[in-house]
């Protein structure tokens, strides 16, 4: 039996992938920006989630029976990255769906005022 937390997190990942491929079709998985953003998000997840799950003074306390048993990096239950991927990809899919994305050209025009070198 797969423990509940990794099991349902993996299921959530599959549901979100299915939602994109067969329903929403935003094309987000083909965008470099999405994958870079997810890498940045995971990097920042480590200190925040690490703080929340540290075994010495946890904010969130897990029943060991529902966990895979892998706690890495820090004391983070590793399946938490599947959970986070599903949740944050879902919000990004709905964000894409809810509004038109600016083209690179529009962004560059606007970026004239921003991010000056």
């Amino acid at each position: 039996m797969i423990p509940a937390y990794p099991g349902f997190s993996f299921l959530a990942v599959l549901v979100v992938i299915g939602l994109e491929l067969w329903v929403l079709r935003t094309g987000i998985f083909r965008q470099k920006a999405y994958w870079i953003a997810m890498a940045v998000i995971f990097a920042f997840q480590i200190p925040v989630d690490g703080w929340m799950t540290k075994l010495s003074a946890p904010i969130v306390v897990y029943n060991p029976e529902v966990l895979s048993g892998w706690r890495w990096p820090l004391d983070i239950p590793t399946e938490e990255f599947l959970y986070a991927w599903a949740m944050l990809t879902l919000v990004i899919l709905l964000w894409e769906r809810a509004g038109p994305s600016e083209s690179g050209e529009e962004r560059r025009r606007r970026a004239g005022r921003l991010l000056r070198r």
Partner: protein, 109 residues
């Protein structure tokens, strides 16, 4: 002060990502209707999952580091703030990355 730890951590996530909105031009906070359209269903689904998991004893929140302002048994408002703050941080990151790619790269992000 300890009991505000979770809430403060979520507040810090929102404060520390604010520069993405204003220095990197993310325009997430400034499109509130679009933000809510993405955020509300996502938060709702994950809060339902969370409430069920807490009720079944899969995980819980340390009373020492949470406010105890419970909206359901053993379910503090702090945890709702998690499902508000973290997705907003993610959207800010995505839009900021797009702007950086558009600014410094040639291709359409």
């Amino acid at each position: 002060m300890d009991r505000y730890q979770y809430l403060i951590l979520m507040g810090l996530c929102l404060v520390l990502t604010l520069p993405l909105e204003f220095l990197f031009g993310a325009r997430v906070w400034r499109r509130p209707r679009r933000l809510l359209t993405a955020l509300v269903p996502t938060a709702a689904i994950f809060i339902v999952w969370d409430v069920i998991a807490v009720a079944r004893g899969h995980w819980g929140f340390n009373p020492r580091y949470t406010t105890g302002w419970n909206i359901l048994p053993d379910f503090p408002i702090d945890e709702v703030m998690f499902f508000v703050a973290v997705p907003i941080c993610a959207l800010l990151t995505l839009e900021a990355v797009r702007n950086v790619l558009a600014r410094f790269g040639k291709e359409d992000a």
